[in-house]
């Protein structure tokens, strides 16, 4: 497979707002978490611009939005965000899936019961969110991986902007009508409204005080939930399978947390477990014509700048870099990254 040679991930700009509106129109309610309405999009863009511009020593309210652009056409075909700390201005709520041992030695009984506890353990972790790629012509997997993982390359070159742990909440199982079996069994009993209506009111957030006002205070014993709600726990929506695959390859793992609304999986990782942190290589940029064309097979790399206020990332096919201290980039690639020969870039295999 050859890397798509015209793609570029870069920070969002104000000029992207119409394109983001168009993207949002194609997104599925209750599945994709990108902002939907003009004012929410504008707020997110302004916040991202301010976040990239800020000098940051410790992560705080910053949230970074990236867009995937086809530089051949100038068209924005995807967007994704990375929040420095989840739950800013509140608490990020999730259900922790605890296991309780049920043991009676006298009666020779031993089994385990799961229980979901509303908890705030993910507050302050860095959060991947709002991932969306226009799937009009079918989503290119490499393009999706570039967009998703570029966020983590950014975190790797600017670690002071983020926490030590990252997570991503993936869309849970819903029907084509937006019916969520997990919501029906739990959230509806407390919110008394439909899943999509709740998501609309809460704007997809998990940090609102109304959650603690409305959601159950005590652990929810899983055996008491209907079968379809139990089955939905930790299961990803069909449209979340590609993001799940990309993040799993990166090093994320489903852990003990699930989403409080739709029961979707929450993937977590310590940054040291992520390939963008542990396996990315710093290489000096060379011009492609400085070296003889290699006969050996090439590897597709994500290549990014190493400057956190001029961040860009592309895909590039190159011979394996393990034994080289430089990467030969084509003029076009250098142009897309806005780097020159001698600059340093981060490279990680796709």
């Amino acid at each position: 497979m050859t890397a798509p040679s015209t793609l570029l991930v870069r920070p969002v700009t104000e000029a992207d707002i119409p394109a983001l509106e168009a993207l949002a129109a194609g997104a599925t309610a209750g599945v994709h978490t990108l902002p939907k309405h003009r004012d929410a999009i504008e707020r997110a863009v302004q916040r991202s611009i301010a976040s990239f511009a800020a000098r940051v020593d410790l992560p705080s309210e910053e949230s970074y939005t990236f867009v995937l652009e086809d530089s051949a056409t100038g068209r924005v075909i995807g967007s994704a965000a990375l929040a420095a700390m989840a739950g800013i201005n509140g608490t990020f709520f999730a259900f922790r899936n605890d296991v309780m041992q049920q043991v009676s030695r006298d009666l020779n009984i031993s089994h385990s019961v799961h229980a979901l506890t509303l908890c705030s353990g993910l507050t302050g972790h860095s959060q991947l969110s709002s991932f969306y790629v226009d799937g009009g012509d079918g989503i290119d997997e490499a393009a999706a991986a570039l967009l998703s993982r570029a966020r983590l390359l950014f975190a790797a070159i600017a670690p002071q902007r983020f926490g030590d742990r990252f997570f991503a909440s993936l869309a849970g199982v819903t029907g084509s009508d937006g019916h969520s079996p997990f919501w029906e069994a739990l959230g509806r009993k407390f919110f008394q409204i439909d899943f999509l209506e709740a998501e609309r009111l809460i704007e997809g957030g998990r940090n609102r005080s109304l959650i603690i006002e409305l959601m159950p205070h005590y652990p929810v014993y899983v055996p008491l939930l209907p079968g379809d709600a139990q089955a939905a726990m930790g299961q990803v929506h069909g449209e979340g399978e590609l993001p799940l695959q990309i993040l799993s390859d990166e090093g994320f793992e489903p852990d003990e947390f699930i989403d409080i609304f739709d029961g979707g999986p929450i993937l977590q990782a310590h940054k040291h477990a992520l390939r963008s942190f542990s396996a990315a290589l710093s290489r000096r940029v060379a011009a492609a014509d400085e070296q003889p064309a290699s006969q050996s097979a090439t590897v597709t790399y994500l290549v990014s700048t190493t400057s956190d206020n001029q961040f860009r990332a592309i895909l590039f096919d190159a011979p394996a870099l393990d034994l080289s201290d430089s990467i030969a980039l084509s003029a076009d690639a250098r142009h897309r990254l806005q780097v020159v020969v001698g600059d340093t870039v981060k490279c990680v295999t796709l």
Partner: protein, 352 residues
């Protein structure tokens, strides 16, 4: 005028050691569903011993178990049994679910949810308990049922200092026609992994540590349960409905405590709020010839005032000026003589 012969030949009295064999016979007739009166001779022997020591005042009030039998004095046959335990839950924990309310409210979303919750509780620890009521089918006529059940309230009214402030009675919960419990099937079963009868038996044998080990400890929202299980919370077994009504007439109420296995209601009362404590009165016995009784006289309960040989009958008579005329037969059944005090109360409550 003649009084009802069925009524008049039955007396409820403190059990005696010689009643053991007849009690065992009765226990074999009880059938399932009453865990406190099983035909187990060793268990019954121990219980009769404790009851005799209780009436003799030989053990501390909170460990007493007052067991009463109904005897048909015309035949000497024992035809019913009932009991009052001095206190529950002092040796083994006494568990209930308490139904509480939690409100979840968001002014922002204009949502206000008022939700019922089940809390595992030992709140009723130390209460006195009415239990072990059984009347032989042949005698389920006239006032016998009321006499048997209500005799205990006269006992409490006569000896209130022997009881804690609260009195309870556990009612058998709803079952389907096939004997299964929807509440158990949708709740307990998930945690105990055994069938209802087994759990009920273990509990009745006083082996309660398995409850501490297996019972879900956190409060549960009733809304988690399917409607079939929600509906039966606080509902009695169809056979128990008449017993429930009798107790409610005497001042017991369902206050939101239910059985942890079948969600049958616990009825409860402050001792001081019982009808018997408000309405029963002492009277002095006069001798009366049978001819003095008129059928217009209401049936009243009459008890002697002796702890160790407590006796209650239902008599058709009336009290006036704190005196009561009793036939010789009634006086014999009560083991009392003219001039003795007795405690009387109308059989039925006058208040709605």
């Amino acid at each position: 005028m003649k009084t009802n012969p069925n009524t008049n030949t039955c007396v409820v009295r403190a059990i005696q050691e010689r009643d053991l064999d007849a009690l065992m016979t009765m226990a074999t007739q009880v059938g399932g569903g009453m865990t406190t009166l099983k035909p187990d001779l060793a268990m019954l022997t121990e219980r009769v011993d404790i009851a005799c020591a209780s009436f003799a005042g030989q053990i501390a009030p909170e460990h007493r178990d007052y067991l009463f039998v109904m005897e048909d004095t015309s035949t000497g046959r024992l035809v019913g049994v009932c009991a009052i335990k001095g206190a529950v839950g002092l040796d083994e924990p006494f568990y209930n679910y308490r139904i509480g309310t939690l409100v979840h409210s968001s002014s922002e979303l204009k949502i206000f949810s008022r939700m019922d919750t089940l809390y595992l509780s030992n709140d009723l620890t130390g209460s006195a308990e009415l239990c072990s009521l059984f009347l032989h089918p042949d005698y389920r006529t006239g006032s016998n049922g009321k006499l048997l059940s209500k005799s205990r309230f006269l006992f409490i009214a006569q000896f209130p200092h022997l009881f804690p402030p609260r009195l309870i009675a556990e009612m058998r919960g709803f079952q389907r026609a096939d004997g299964t419990s929807p509440f158990w099937d949708h709740l307990g079963q998930h945690f105990f992994k055994m069938d209802f009868d087994r759990a009920d038996e273990l509990s009745s044998l006083g082996k309660k540590s398995f409850i501490a080990e297996l019972m879900p400890r956190h409060p549960l929202y009733v809304a988690y349960l399917p409607p079939a299980a929600q509906e039966v919370i606080g509902m009695v077994h169809v056979d128990t409905a008449p017993a429930r009504r009798l107790l409610e007439q005497e001042g017991l109420h369902y206050e939101g405590y239910v059985d942890i296995f079948d969600a049958g209601p616990v009825l409860q009362a402050r001792i001081s709020g019982l009808r018997a404590l408000r309405e029963s009165t002492l009277a002095i016995v006069d001798a009366a010839a049978p001819s003095e009784f008129a059928s217009i006289d209401p049936v009243i309960l009459v008890a002697n005032t002796t702890l160790h040989d407590f006796r209650v009958i239902a008599a058709q008579s009336g009290t006036a000026q704190d005196r009561i005329a009793l036939s010789e037969q009634d006086r014999q059944m009560l083991a009392c003589a003219p001039g003795d005090p007795v405690r009387t109360m109308s059989l039925n409550s006058h208040r709605k």
